[in-house]
Symmetry: C2
Subunit: 284 residues, 2 copies
């Protein structure tokens, strides 16, 4: 791997939310580049390379950073390949080389308080992520160890992008679907430090509109599901942007990472990220 | 670490559910030993030992195996300490030395289908666990990659043991709390392979009774919350056992692991596990 030191002195950083807002404005982009490494889809030049996961993701990061408001590594893709060290190095690389682009660790954690503290350590200390995705099913005390990190982002599942999202999330509570109660609880009760965001899938444009109406302008949405999952960019932006024309972290993974399987993979990824940025900006 | 081979040929194993039922009967125990390593609580002899997490857990496993129907390593405690290899070695050790005691990896995973496949690989291939805990919030398709492993156990969060469990789980849907809908969905729809279990906390005896009434005798409960969290053993067993007097995997972690901080830690753990087994068996 490249010679990045295992620890480094960095200046005190602004909070995740401040950095995200800075990035929206300074780089004029709402694109989040999802880092879901699948070695079987890597270009041929990575075959048999021992550090392929780190090197492929690093190349994607370096190529797409100008168009990214955030990077989102998905931890299962690293864990299944025993690539924790590649994940740690990748986040450190982003922090050193692209310090204006915050990192959301997509791990969808959730457990009782004492265990959630260990998950918070995993995300914020071991990996030095700026934000983490959290599952709300176990209730507020399971999220509290994350929420207590006021400078970190806590991105809570609300209406997820998968086809089965509605199995629980659409069950009606007092005449309204469960995900709307989650949105209201997060915005009104869990967001004391102003560090909460919500996951709402691009595949559900009406639900995006409803959740925006519930939580107002200050809670950002992490929106997966454009690209391979089929979400419509225009509907996402029209329905879910806030009054400033931002408030969105629109994530694309496969359509950027695997835009080309040839030696032009990095350039193709940059082109895909730029094209998504431009398409989003058309509708802001 | 001790010289355990990194891979080994094992005979084809019976399913998790069959092995769990065998173990209930053959060892006459419903105790699950939770493996939540906290190096700060280890006996002094482990201070500064590079493999302390593996060695402490291995000693606990060897001492408590006669009284255990399952072991339950909690993955955050390993991940926060960068101890994935210790976790892998520990599960391999259990499989080789205590092959009749199945392993439930407590990771509470949940994500969209393509990512859930990576989590299933993590649990069942990388760590060779026999069962895994899963969060139901994202719906059935997020659980399906686990459910498809018919020989593995899928232990789904229903009514968790933490004080904030009710924030979402008690919201009323058609007059019944959400956790009862989860129980019914799992028992009637998700359990096609007969490999589902439910997490219901020992801290909620009435809810244990209600969930047992909904799911019948064939769905085991993983019951955390006796010991440090204060759940009452008698109420758990009375309310939640099935007609065979089993159907329960009653988990205790801290009260067993840290029963003594002296050099008698293993013996003290064995005594605590045996005492819990005996207390449970009083009420079966």
């Amino acid at each position: 791997m490249s010679p990045i030191p295992s620890s480094t002195t960095t200046e005190p950083m602004r909070s995740f939310m401040d950095r995200l807002r800075d990035r929206w404005h300074d780089a004029d982009t709402l694109v989040c580049v999802g880092l879901d490494p699948e070695p079987a889809k890597f270009p041929a030049r990575f075959a048999g390379q021992p550090n392929a996961i780190f090197e492929f993701c690093r190349d994607i990061v370096d190529a797409t950073a100008p168009y990214a408001c955030a990077f989102k590594p998905q931890i299962a893709h690293f864990a299944a390949a025993e690539a924790e060290e590649a994940l740690r190095m990748l986040i450190l690389h982003i922090r050193l080389r692209h310090p204006h682009v915050p990192v959301i660790l997509d791990s969808k954690r959730g457990d009782i308080g004492s265990t959630a503290q260990h998950y918070a350590r995993e995300a914020f200390e071991r990996y030095a992520a700026d934000a983490v995705t959290v599952n709300p099913y176990m209730g507020r005390d399971s999220a509290q160890p994350f929420l207590d990190h006021a400078d970190k982002g806590v991105v809570i599942l609300c209406r997820t992008s998968n086809p089965g999202a509605g199995d629980l999330q659409d069950l009606l509570v007092d005449g309204k679907p469960l995900y709307q109660h989650v949105a209201a609880k997060v915005a009104r009760e869990w967001n004391e430090h102003g560090n909460c965001a919500l996951v709402v899938g691009a595949t559900w444009p009406e639900q995006l509109r409803e959740v925006r109406a519930i939580v107002g302008d200050q809670v950002p949405f992490l929106v997966p599901g454009v690209g391979a999952q089929g979400g419509d960019v225009r509907a996402v932006v029209s329905n879910a942007r806030n009054r400033d024309g931002d408030g969105l972290v629109i994530s694309s993974s496969r359509a950027i990472l695997y835009a080309s399987s040839g030696d032009d993979y990095a350039e193709a990824a940059a082109n895909a990220a730029r094209a998504l940025r431009d398409e989003i900006n058309l509708y802001r």
